[in-house]
C-alpha cells in the first residue's frame, strides 16, 4: 500500500532493496523470454550511489556518467558527509549502496578499516597525484578533487568595525577579532577536523595546541556543521568564518560580501573520493563507473567546482578561487589523522568543550 512508485513501473522506481532486486530479476527474465518487448531502458543497470556532492552538481555528474558508461543508471542518495557516513556504517550488515562517489577520504578510510570497500584499481588511476590514492594494491579508494580549509571574511562587517584583513592563521589571533570568529566543531564536522589536522600538520603538535588555545579566546561559536561558519559570515552574523573553499565560493557567487582567504601558512585539506562498496551485486557496472570517475572527462567536470583536481593534467575552470593556493597545502597524512582521530578529538574536547558556553 505504501510502496511509492513514481509512474508505477519498476524502472521509474529508485528503491533498491532485496525484494526489488529479486523482482527486477524476475521481470528481466520474463522480458528476455519475450525478447521483443524488452526495451533497452529496462536493461540498464541501476547503481545506487551514496554521495555528499553538492545538490547542483548531481544532475551534471549523473548525465555525464550515464553518457560515458552506456547501460547504467545513477541513482543518488545525497546528504551531508556525516549523515552519509553514518548511514553507510549503520547499513554495514545489509549494504544498500553500490558505489560511493564524492565522500570525504576520512570517511572512506573509516569504511576501509571496517572492510567495507571492494579493492579495484580504476583505469588511469596511475595518472592521479600520489596523495590522491589509497596506498593499497589494488586500490580501495581514489581521490577526485580536494577541498581546503579557508577563511570567509565579511568585508562589510570589517568596514563597520574597522578590522584588518587576515592573511595567515596566526593573524586570526589578533585581539581585534575577539568574539567575531565562527569555527566548526571538529567533533561534529569533517571540515573542523581537516582544519585542526592541517594545523597539527604544519605547526607541529605542541605549537598547534597552543595556537588553538589562543584562537579559542577569539572564537564566538563552534558550530555543528562545516558550512555554518561561512553561512554566518556571509550573513554578517560574525566577521570571520573558518570553513572550506567550496562553500565560500558558492556563497560569494550568490552575492555575499565575503573575501575568501586561503591562509598562506599552510592549510589542511580533505579529498573527495570514490570507492566500490563491498558486496555490490553490480560489480562490473560499478567498476566502469569508477573508471569514469577518474577519467579526464570527469575531472574536467569537477574542475567546474573545485580548484584542485586529482589529475595534474586537467586545468580547473572554477571562478573566484584564490590563486596559487595549491602550494599552500599542509602535509596531511590521512591515514595517520584517521588513526589518531579519537585522541585528537578527546584532547580538543578536554581543552575547549567544557567551557564552550557562548560569549559575547
Amino acid at each position: 500500500m505504501f510502496r511509492h512508485r513514481r509512474g508505477g513501473d519498476l524502472v521509474g522506481s529508485a528503491t533498491i532493496n532485496a525484494g526489488d532486486r529479486h523482482m527486477r530479476r524476475l521481470l528481466l527474465a520474463a522480458a528476455c523470454m519475450l525478447a521483443f518487448t524488452a526495451s533497452a531502458e529496462a536493461q540498464r543497470t541501476r547503481l545506487t550511489v551514496y554521495t555528499a556532492f553538492e545538490n547542483d552538481q548531481l544532475p551534471v555528474f549523473k548525465q555525464a556518467a550515464e553518457r560515458a558508461v552506456p547501460g547504467i543508471e545513477v541513482v543518488w542518495v545525497r546528504d551531508s558527509t556525516g549523515i552519509v557516513t553514518t548511514r553507510l556504517l549503520a547499513e554495514k550488515d545489509n549494504p544498500r549502496a553500490d558505489v560511493i562517489w564524492g565522500l570525504s577520504a576520512f570517511s572512506l578510510i573509516r569504511l576501509e578499516a571496517e572492510n567495507m570497500l571492494e579493492p579495484y584499481t580504476p583505469k588511469d588511476a596511475e595518472a592521479l597525484r600520489p596523495q590522491f590514492r589509497s596506498d593499497r594494491n589494488p586500490m580501495t579508494w581514489v581521490g577526485l578533487d580536494a577541498f581546503v580549509a579557508a577563511v570567509c571574511f565579511n568585508t562589510v562587517v570589517a568596514q563597520q568595525r574597522n578590522l584588518p584583513r587576515p592573511a595567515t592563521w596566526n593573524d586570526l589571533l589578533n585581539p581585534a577579532y575577539r568574539g567575531l570568529i565562527a569555527m566548526p566543531n571538529p567533533a561534529s564536522s569533517g571540515t573542523g577536523l581537516l582544519t585542526v589536522a592541517g594545523w597539527l600538520g604544519t605547526k607541529g603538535e605542541a605549537p598547534a595546541w597552543d595556537f588553538m588555545t589562543r584562537l579559542h579566546d577569539n572564537i564566538a561559536v563552534y558550530t555543528h556543521s562545516g558550512s555554518a561558519p561561512c553561512n554566518n559570515a556571509a550573513r554578517g552574523e560574525y566577521a570571520i568564518g573558518i570553513t572550506f573553499d567550496m562553500r565560500a565560493v558558492a556563497l560569494r557567487n550568490q552575492g555575499a560580501p565575503i573575501d575568501i582567504i586561503v591562509p598562506s601558512d599552510g592549510v589542511g585539506f580533505d579529498l573527495e573520493a570514490a570507492a566500490i562498496h563491498r558486496g555490490t551485486r553490480n560489480l562490473d557496472a560499478a567498476k566502469r563507473l569508477m573508471d569514469f570517475a577518474v577519467s579526464k572527462e570527469a575531472m574536467e567536470l569537477y574542475g567546474r567546482y573545485y580548484a584542485l583536481l586529482g589529475r595534474a593534467d586537467v586545468q580547473p575552470t572554477v571562478q573566484n578561487y584564490p590563486p596559487e593556493f595549491s602550494q599552500r597545502l599542509a602535509d596531511v597524512d590521512f591515514a595517520a589523522v584517521a588513526a589518531n582521530r579519537d585522541r585528537i578529538l578527546a584532547e580538543w574536547g578536554r581543552r575547549f568543550d567544557g567551557k564552550s558556553a557562548p560569549r559575547n
Binding site: A90, D93, V221, E237
Partner: protein
C-alpha cells in the same frame, strides 16, 4: 481465609474482556515491533565497544568522566525546566480562556495558538536570527547579550512547545460538569475556592501530562539548538556529535539511554496523577457553558491577544524572510526562493513526498492510537501487562529522533528481518513518524477517555451490548473531535519532522523538511525559509479544513454537551 487463599476466585473473561485484552496485546505487539525492538537493537550497543565486544558499563563510566557530556545533561535539564515553567502556566491560562470564558474570538485564538505546531521547529529560530541576530533589527533590545545560546533556545522552545501543551490542557479543561459549578455557586463558594477545588483538580491530569510533554520535547529536540544554540551544548546535539560527527554509535546509544531517564520519571508522575483523577464527565454530566463575566473575560482577552501577537510576529518574520533576495544585504522582494528546483534536485517533489507521508501517517495513526488507548484504558484483565504497554506508549516522546532513526536502520535493515522490504520505502517513513509522535496522541486520547464515565460501558454491558458497539456508537462519536485533533497532530508533525527521517529517506522519498535543512546548510537561508513557509501553509490549509469539519462534527456529535 485459608480456603480462599487455596482456591483463588478465577474471573471468567467475558467477550468484552477478551476483545479489550486482544486490543492491548495488539497495541503491545505494534509498539514492540515499531519501537522496542529497534531501540533495543541500538541500546545493546551501549554495552559494546566499537568492535562489537561486550564491555559492560565501560561506556557509561566514560560518559560520566567526560565533563562536556555531563555539562550538556545539566544544560538540557535547566533549559527544559525553565521552558516548562514558562509554557505550562501560559498555556493553562490560554486554554482556560478558550474553554471557560465567554471572551470574543475564541475560535480565532485557538487557530492562532496552534500555528507553531504547523511549522518546522527551525522556523522560530530563523525568525529570531532575523530579529535579534548580530545583524538583527532589534539587536539593541538584548543590551549586548546574544540570541545564540540558552536565550534563543528557550524563546524558540516556548514557541514550539506552546501548542503541544495547549492541546492537552484544552482537552482536560473542556471535559467538565456544569453541575459542579452550579453547586459551588449555590454554596456561595468564592471564585478562588472554585478554582482551587473544582477547576484545578479536573485539569490536574492534563497539567502533569502537559508538563511531561513540554519537558521531554525540549530535551529531545535537536533542530532548535543546532540553529540557534551557538556553542551551548545540550544532550540532543551531543547525540548528533557522537553519531553523525564521529559515527560513534556506542556513545550515541549511551546518551540516548540517559535521555530516556526523564521519561521514566515522568511516567511515575503520570501514574501518580492518574490515580488521583476521577472521571469528571459522568454519564449524567451537564456540559459547562461559560457565562459572560467582563471582569474575567477582558483580562483573558488581553492575554490571548498578547500571546497571539507574539506567535504571529515570529511566523510573519520568517515568511518575510522567505521573500527577500539575500539577507541582510539585499532586502528587495522576490519569489525566486520558491523555485526549489534551483536549490535542491528534488525540488517541489519533496513537498509531494511530505504530503503523502503526512496523509498516511494521520489516516492510519489516529484511529490506531485512539483504539489502542481505549483498550489500554478500559481493560480490566491482563494486570501488569497493560501497565507495561501503557508505559511503552509514553516512551516515544522521550526518544530523540536521531536515535530512533538510526535504531530503524539497524533493525529494519538487518539481513533476515522479514520486515526488511519496508526499508527505503515511504512505508518506513510512515511507521517511523507514527511511532515518533505516538505519545501526544495517546495522552490526548487517554485524557479524553478519562473524562468519559466508564458507566457508559457498565450500562451497555448490563444491556448486553457488546463493547465494540458501545465503542463505535458512544465512545467514538463523543470523542470524534479528539480523534480528529490527533489526526491533525500526526499530519503536521509528519510534515515538519526532520531528525528521524533524515536517515531513512531514499532518493524518491526525500521529505520537504529534510530539504529545509539541506538548503539551510548550503547557505540558501531564504530558500529554506521559503520551504518552511510552504510546509506551514500546507499544514494550515489542512488545519483550516479540520476546523470546518470540526464545526460540522461538533454540531452533529456534541449536541449532548449543550442544553
Amino acid at each position: 481465609m485459608a480456603v480462599a487463599a487455596a482456591l483463588p476466585v478465577r474471573r471468567v473473561w467475558s467477550g468484552d474482556d477478551r476483545l479489550l485484552a486482544a486490543g492491548v496485546v495488539l497495541a503491545g505487539l505494534f509498539l514492540a515491533v515499531a519501537l522496542v525492538l529497534p531501540l533495543g537493537t541500538l541500546f545493546l550497543k551501549s554495552f559494546e565497544d566499537q568492535q562489537g565486544r561486550f564491555v559492560g558499563l565501560a561506556n557509561y563510566v566514560r560518559y560520566i568522566e567526560t565533563p562536556a557530556l555531563a555539562g550538556s545533561l545539566w544544560n538540557s535539564l535547566w533549559t527544559a525546566g525553565l521552558t516548562m515553567v514558562i509554557v505550562v502556566p501560559a498555556a493553562f491560562v490560554f486554554a482556560y480562556a478558550l474553554t471557560r470564558s465567554a471572551m470574543p474570538g475564541r475560535g480565532l485564538f485557538r487557530a492562532i495558538a496552534l500555528i507553531p505546531i504547523l511549522a518546522p521547529s527551525l522556523l522560530p529560530a530563523l525568525a529570531l536570527i532575523y530579529l535579534f541576530g548580530n545583524q538583527g533589527f532589534l539587536r539593541s533590545w538584548l543590551f549586548g547579550g546574544t540570541i545564540y545560546g540558552p536565550l534563543g533556545i528557550i524563546i524558540s522552545q516556548v514557541f514550539y512547545t506552546f501548542p503541544h501543551a495547549l492541546l492537552i490542557l484544552a482537552t482536560a479543561l473542556s471535559g467538565t460538569d456544569a453541575r459542579l459549578y452550579e453547586a459551588a455557586e449555590a454554596l456561595r463558594a468564592s471564585r478562588i475556592r472554585v478554582m482551587r477545588t473544582v477547576t484545578l483538580p479536573t485539569a490536574r491530569y492534563g497539567m502533569v501530562s502537559a508538563s511531561f510533554v513540554v519537558f521531554t520535547l525540549v530535551i529531545t529536540d535537536f533542530g532548535i539548538p543546532k540553529v540557534i544554540g551557538g556553542s551551548f551544548s545540550v544532550l540532543a546535539t551531543e547525540v548528533y556529535k557522537q553519531v553523525v560527527g564521529q559515527q560513534n554509535f556506542q556513545m550515541g546509544a549511551v546518551v540516548g539511554v540517559v535521555l530516556m531517564i526523564p521519561a521514566i520519571l515522568a511516567f511515575g508522575a503520570d501514574q501518580w496523577a492518574q490515580r488521583r483523577q476521577v472521571a469528571v464527565v459522568g454519564a449524567r454530566a451537564v456540559p459547562y457553558v461559560p457565562k459572560q463575566r467582563p471582569e474575567r473575560d477582558w483580562p483573558l482577552f488581553a492575554f490571548c491577544v498578547l500571546v497571539s501577537a507574539l506567535l504571529l510576529s515570529l511566523v510573519g518574520i520568517a515568511a518575510w524572510g522567505s521573500l527577500i533576495t539575500f539577507w541582510p544585504w539585499n532586502l528587495s522582494l522576490t519569489l525566486n526562493n520558491y523555485a526549489f528546483g534551483n536549490f535542491i534536485s528534488a525540488g517541489w517533489g519533496s513537498w509531494v513526498n511530505s504530503v503523502q507521508l503526512a496523509f498516511w501517517t494521520a489516516l492510519i495513526g489516529a484511529p490506531l492510537v485512539f483504539a489502542f488507548a481505549y483498550a489500554m484504558d478500559r481493560v480490566r484483565v491482563l494486570g501488569p501487562l497493560s501497565d507495561i504497554v501503557r508505559f511503552i506508549a509514553v516512551i516515544p516522546l522521550a526518544v530523540p529522533g536521531l536515535v530512533l532513526g538510526i535504531a530503524y536502520i539497524f533493525f529494519f535493515n538487518a539481513p533476515g528481518n522479514p520486515l526488511g522490504f519496508l526499508y527505503g520505502t515511504l512505508g518506513i517513513l510512515v511507521l517511523n513518524s507514527l511511532v515518533h509522535f505516538y505519545t501526544v496522541g495517546h495522552l490526548a486520547s487517554m485524557t479524553q477517555l478519562k473524562s468519559l464515565d466508564p458507566e457508559f460501558e457498565s450500562v451497555s454491558a448490563s444491556l448486553k451490548v457488546p463493547i465494540w458497539r458501545t465503542f463505535a456508537v458512544v465512545t467514538v462519536p463523543m470523542s470524534l473531535p479528539v480523534i480528529l485533533d490527533v489526526a491533525i497532530y500526526l499530519f503536521v508533525n509528519a510534515m515538519t519532522t526532520v531528525s528521524a527521517v533524515v536517515f531513512l529517506y531514499s532518493p524518491h522519498t526525500m521529505p520537504a523538511s529534510v530539504a529545509v535543512v539541506q538548503m539551510d546548510e548550503a547557505g540558501f537561508a531564504s530558500a529554506a525559509a521559503a520551504m518552511a513557509t510552504v510546509i506551514l501553509l500546507t499544514s494550515a490549509a489542512v488545519k483550516g479544513l479540520h476546523v470546518r469539519l470540526d464545526q460540522v462534527l461538533t454540531r452533529r456529535t456534541q449536541a449532548w454537551r449543550r442544553r
